[in-house]
């Protein structure tokens, strides 16, 4: 096993990796930007080396500098976390070239799965289901119609040069095909001067379900079950859970097998995730592979009783992983809520600022992976996610109740967060029944957003009484100042003494 590793990341994920290192007796090396100098991950690491800079480009993306620090500090391997350099094949290659170990997949797998077209072709060759559609752009009308019939309606016509929904048509049945194709081609011609189109199966009522896989250098490839990630805003996940309420044992086995097949096809090593779309008829299609540790990995850890970072380290060090067979059963149920510094009620506007007070949730079944502390400044420079709050329970109901309780308990002030929104999601009857798709937030926005009568009057009274308290204090200070015969110098001196205490 490694004696020392460098973590090329920041915030909660850097801290997450540092914790496992500490448990395994591995020395951790943190690197940090100027902005992050006071972050918890910096002082939790065994060593902390400055990268300088503010923006990602000036700091966490400077891989020559990171490699240089790795060598100087004597680290043997680099953990990239997620984001930043984690899916950069050139970086993975450079790490290996420098004689260090990249804690992740081989560069070739990152490169292959990072190319959408190549990945799709590879999946088709290896019989992993993909969304049916044309490989190449079509300009021949007869051929287009035949393809649409073969795929089966409903289908999507997409302009080859398209984007932003222009030149896109949803076609429900064959008799509507001609006019939709004309419409899409016209729009595409006008917008992009190119009327060729792709035809693709329309995935009805899609759910986003992904499988965690692990592969070591001893020929073992397993899956650790699925994560349900359908609750998304702007294609970004906000709440995840394991297992998914949609899957039964048979479907889990089939999807898990497909996930392993996908990993095998690209010669995968280490931890990875295969994302699938599942339609209302319970057909599943390969979407993409994430060649790194995912943000939402804790829910998989909670229901498997495994530490995925520990497994990553073992695999990277050439050891065998702890399990050699995919588990058939899970321990209970787990939710993860991503706490973002943003204002869901104001179109998810970022809410940077200083965390003036923080008292996170605790108690039975709660796990928090946070990157901040009281006094932390949430800057503009990086991702707005500040913490991941997880709840575990013996079943989905208990885990859900715990998740709501923990979110209500969580006290944070100074910035706005997604907490009130997350509580609404968890309280929604359809969510509680497991009946939702990736369109959930958009479809249920009237229910999820906006003020409710409950607690409105208590909030109003709190504001009035807080203002009265403030005024009382101001009056006291003013009264003391005016009535006191002491000179200004005494006041200044007294203030200085207070400050130095």
């Amino acid at each position: 096993m490694f004696k020392k590793i460098l973590i090329a990341n920041r915030g909660e994920i850097a801290l997450r990796v540092i914790r496992t290192c500490a448990e395994m007796g591995i020395k951790s090396v943190a690197v940090y930007s100027d902005v992050d100098a006071n972050s918890p991950f910096v002082y939790s690491a065994y060593e902390a080396w400055p990268l300088g800079g503010k923006t990602s480009r000036e700091s966490y993306l400077r891989w020559e500098k990171i490699l240089d620090i790795a060598k100087k500090s004597g680290a043997e391997a680099i953990h990239p976390g997620y984001g930043f350099l984690s899916e950069n094949a050139d970086f993975a290659e450079a790490v290996e070239k420098a004689g260090l170990v990249f804690i992740g997949p081989p560069a070739s797998a990152i490169r292959l799965m990072g190319n959408k077209t190549a990945a799709r072709e590879l999946m088709i060759r290896n019989k992993v289901p993909t969304v049916p559609g044309t490989e190449n752009a079509i300009t021949d009308r007869q051929l287009a119609r035949k393809v649409a019939r073969d795929i089966g309606y409903p289908i999507l016509i997409k302009a080859a040069a398209g984007g932003g929904g222009k030149g896109m048509r949803l076609v429900e049945s064959d008799d509507l095909f001609e006019e939709s194709l004309d419409g899409a081609a016209r729009e595409a011609m006008a917008a992009f001067n190119d009327d060729s189109v792709y035809i693709e199966k329309f995935v009805e009522e899609p759910r986003h379900i992904e499988f965690q896989i692990l592969a070591d250098n001893h020929g073992n490839i397993i899956h650790l079950g699925e994560r349900e990630c359908s609750i998304q805003r702007r294609h970004q996940k906000v709440l995840e859970e394991a297992p998914s309420s949609l899957l039964d044992e048979d479907m889990r086995a089939r999807m898990g097998e497909a996930a392993i097949q996908a990993a095998r096809a690209c010669n995968y090593r280490n931890a990875g995730t295969i994302e699938f779309l599942v339609d209302k008829h319970r057909n599943f299609y390969f979407l993409e592979m994430n060649t790194r540790l995912q943000v939402e990995h804790p829910v998989t850890e909670l229901v498997n009783g495994l530490d995925l970072v520990e497994e990553q380290l073992k695999i990277a060090a050439g050891e065998a992983m702890s399990l050699t067979e995919s588990p058939k059963h899970f321990f209970g149920h787990a939710f993860e809520c991503r706490i973002y510094a943003e204002d869901p009620e104001n179109n998810w506007a970022p809410s940077p600022g200083v965390i003036e007070f923080l008292n996170p949730a605790d108690g039975p079944g709660i796990r928090e992976d946070s990157g901040v502390t009281q006094g932390s400044e949430i800057s503009l420079y990086y991702d707005p996610m500040i913490s991941k709050l997880c709840a575990w329970g013996r079943d989905r109901q208990q885990a859900g109740r715990r998740m709501i309780r923990a979110l209500q308990e969580y006290q944070i002030s100074g910035i706005k967060t997604s907490i009130p929104f997350l509580i609404r999601v968890l309280e929604h009857p359809d969510f509680q029944n497991g009946d939702f798709t990736t369109q959930f937030i958009e479809k249920e926005k009237d229910w999820l957003f906006g003020e409710r009568k409950e607690f409105a009057e208590e909030a109003a009274l709190a504001a009035i009484l807080a203002e009265m308290e403030e005024k009382k204090k101001v009056k006291l200070v003013a009264a003391n100042g005016a009535g006191s015969p002491s000179s200004q110098w005494k006041t200044i001196r007294r203030k200085e003494q207070l400050r130095s205490q």
Binding site: L380, S413, E454, A456, I464
Partner: protein, 171 residues
């Protein structure tokens, strides 16, 4: 004295009265059983009819951000006097048709598509502000002329920083 509190959807009206225990709130002629304790850092314990709530109260320029039992409210508090003063200010400011565009959030100025002197139609972008990987387009609230632009591309701005002055164009 009357005190008004308004959230986005609800309005409340109380009367402040002097009692032996100090100032108390009345609603519809009834004294309210409500107290508050300051816990510091903007945190309070509100006790209403013997039910305790932990409340976060954060003051901004115009209102209070209140978080209570996992819900969030924006509360505007006014008494009779401040309400009258505000109405007077509003009436005089409205006449000139000038408006300052302030930064709604701290951020980086990515683009300033218009310059001083330009005429802009309603809904057209005035300034593009980026924070945390997200672009925020600040649009013209009405047809207007740009009177002054006080930021440039690459600037970092604090919240509420005045970025631009515009003047409405009358038909």
């Amino acid at each position: 004295m009357k005190i008004f509190a308004e959230t986005e959807k609800f309005k409340f009206e109380y009367t402040l009265v002097e009692t032996e225990e100090g100032l108390r709130l009345k609603k519809g002629g009834q004294l309210l059983d409500v107290h508050i304790r300051d816990l510091g850092e903007g945190r309070y314990c509100l006790i209403k009819d013997n039910m305790p709530y932990i409340v976060n109260v954060h003051r901004t320029n115009e209102h209070y951000n209140v978080r209570i039992a996992g819900s969030h409210f924006q509360v505007m508090v006014e008494d009779e006097r401040t309400r009258r003063v505000k109405e007077l200010v509003r009436a005089s400011a409205g006449a000139r048709g000038e408006k300052t565009i302030k930064a709604p959030i701290p951020g980086l100025i990515v683009k300033t598509p218009v310059q001083a002197g330009d005429t802009v139609r309603e809904g057209e972008p005035l300034i593009i502000l980026e924070a945390m990987k997200m672009e925020n387009i600040i649009k013209a609230p009405f047809e207007c002329r740009v009177v002054a632009l006080s930021v440039k591309e690459g600037d970092t701005v604090e919240q509420n920083k005045v970025m631009m002055k515009i003047k409405g164009i009358e038909d």
